[in-house]
Structure formats: structure tokens, C-alpha cells
Symmetry: C2
Subunit: 174 residues, 2 copies
DNA sequence: GATGTTTGAGAACGGTCGTTCTTGACCGAG
DNA sequence: CTCGGTCAAGAACGACCGTTCTCAAACATC
């Protein structure tokens, strides 16, 4: 019953996540989304309710498909040094944690629902560091901050530390 | 000749920097600025040319009055651990580096002039870490990333690592 | 093939955006 | 006091914002 949907919802959410990650929430207009996703305005509002609804869906997907898997992979690192190097490599290869970073800075403070999702992503990174470095070492939050800080440098387009520098640093912390 | 200016330009720039730091560039409207600064629209455009011009002035002031002095102070630390602890203490006490962080995420990628200013601020932090930790150690960029990452956590309103945790971490890196 | 329901296409809504213009208040110089 | 120039006050501009509405096209069901 009814006309079949002509767009892939998951693919649309993924495209929205990329747009939001690059231009930010306020910097991405509904027109940008309609053009970039190839989804009609009406369909977008029918499915997601609002621009914010689409943003929350994109952030949710970003967590489920990128941040949490990354955190799970980092848990398998055989030391904090390897963990750091692995995280940086993930940042070089794509938009990993980009939307998480953008959301944390731009929206987490003013939108509680975004704040909860951001907190979930950060907690996952914390947990990975803690699992590798040893619980109670008290350093997990700091090193998780380092991970996001390195992501920030990569995003800002300014040359971040080289992989060698990261490894050298990693040698210091274990 | 002419009517004298009825507002303090430096104070206006400072107020603008706070607004931009909290709400971001796109999240701060000219109406917000007019209200928050107590400066008339016409005067704002007469003096700063545009919203972007005021933003650049605010970021410039943020660097000169907060980030660069902070970097200079960090240079005097007697070790990387003290440096980290000092940086975190500065974040707790105010908006230090807040606009730098916001600009790095929201604008540095799309506005080259903002990118240059952000790069200047980050280079100052790098230099401070390098001066304390020893040049060529290759860790300066990474630890500077940690500094901004900790600032990010504080901003997002999620409980960051405690001062004790930072000190414990600092013990590992020297 | 006719019916019923949902989609896609795009015009249109009021509101707000950044910016400019017009007008009158103000003050130093002559 | 008069004049010239700068400022403050606020209305007004076109453009764009997120959102809604109308209507024809496209299927599943009967």
C-alpha cells in the first residue's frame, strides 16, 4: 500500500552525519541536507520529524557505527602506546569521531539529548583506555582527552604530530 | 569634531569573545551581539565592518590576552606534570582557551584567517610544552593535544578527570 | 483496471539572518 | 552661535532559515 520509498534511510543518515561533521549543526541548512542527501524535504520531515531529529539520528549512527567500534578495537591494544597509535591511524583514514567532536563543542552544552550521546561516546573511549591501561590508574580520562585532542588537531587542518611523535609519546606512558 | 564614542571598544570585544565562545559563531546572532555588548548596530558595523570582522577581533584578543599569556606561564612550569596541572587549573577558573577550541572546531577549516589565528594559538601551546619537556622529544604536539582535549571535556559539561588523575597521569610523562 | 495510501516535487509560509539606510542627537572648531 | 562631522536610534532591506502545504506520481491491494 502506497508508493515505495526511493531512498535508503541508512545511507541518508550516513550522508547527513558527514555533512554535520564537516559544517556543524548550525552551519548545515536543510537545503544543504536536501541537496546532499538527495532526499526530498517532505520525506525528510516525514521520516525524521525535524532537522534536530535527523541530527540526533546521525549522531546515534555515528556512535554505533564508528565510535563504539573504534573503542572496542582500542580495547584490544596491547598497551597504551599501541592504543594511541591506533587511534591516530583511525583519524587519518576518515571522519572517525569527527561528529562526536563537533557535537561536543557545538551542541552538548545546550542540547541535553546531544549531551547524553556525547557522554556515551566519551565514556566508551574512557573505558577502552581503562581496559588497556589498568583500572584505577586514574589516567584513562586524561588519555582519552588526548585522543580527542589529536582528532581536533587533525580536523583543524594544522599539521598534527607525526605517527613517530605519537609513538615516542606513547613510550613514555606505557 | 563629531560626537564622541559612547562605548568602550575593548570591553565590547571582550564581551563578544565570551558570547562567541559559548554559543559559537553561527549560534551568535548580530542581535545577540547588539544586546550583549550594548553597542548599536550601526556602530558595530562602523567599527568592525561585519560580524566576521568582530569575530576576528574577538579571536585576536582572546589569543593576545588569554592564550598567549597562558602559554607563557606554562613555559615556567618545572616539569610536564606541573604544566598539565597548571593548564587544567586555568580551565577550571574561566573561559581560557574556550574560544580557541570553538574556533578550531567550527571555523578553522572553512575560514583561512581563522585557521591562521587558531594555528598561532596552538603553536604557542606546542612551544610551551616543548620548552618544558625538551625540544626534539617529539611529544610536544601530543601533550598540547591533551591540554585542548581536557579543555574540551570541561566544556562539554561532562565530568572531566579530577586534578588527582591529571597529576597521576603527569607522573607518567615526567 | 479501480481504489487507497504513501511518496516525491516544489511552491509557499512566517520568522530571523546579516547588513544598510534614514533620521535626529551630540560635540568640537571657527 | 553656527557649522561640520560623527555617533546613536531604530526602521527597513533582501536573503535565507526551518517548516508546512498542495498536488501529482507511484505502487499494493482488491
Amino acid at each position: 500500500m502506497g508508493r515505495p520509498r526511493a531512498f535508503d534511510e541508512e545511507q541518508a543518515v550516513r550522508a547527513a552525519a558527514e555533512l554535520f561533521a564537516v559544517r556543524g549543526y548550525e552551519g548545515t541548512s536543510v537545503d544543504d541536507l536536501v541537496t546532499g542527501l538527495g532526499v526530498h524535504r517532505g520525506s525528510l520531515y516525514k521520516v525524521f520529524g525535524s532537522k534536530r531529529g535527523l541530527y540526533l539520528a546521525a549522531l546515534r549512527r555515528h556512535l554505533d557505527e564508528e565510535v563504539l567500534p573504534l573503542a572496542a578495537a582500542l580495547r584490544e591494544a596491547d598497551g597504551l602506546g599501541t592504543l594511541l597509535a591506533q587511534a591516530v591511524a583511525a583519524f587519518d583514514g576518515g571522519p572517525a569521531a569527527g561528529l562526536l567532536l563537533s557535537a561536543a563543542v557545538e551542541r552538548a552544552g545546550s542540547d541535553p539529548e546531544v549531551g547524553a550521546l556525547v557522554g556515551e561516546g566519551m565514556a566508551a573511549l574512557d573505558g577502552a583506555v581503562e581496559a588497556v591501561g589498568g583500572a584505577g590508574s586514574g589516567t584513562s580520562g586524561v588519555l582519552a582527552a588526548t585522543v580527542l585532542g589529536l582528532r581536533l588537531r587533525a580536523r583543524a587542518g594544522l599539521g598534527g604530530p607525526s605517527a613517530d611523535a605519537v609513538l615516542a609519546f606513547a613510550g613514555r606512558v606505557g
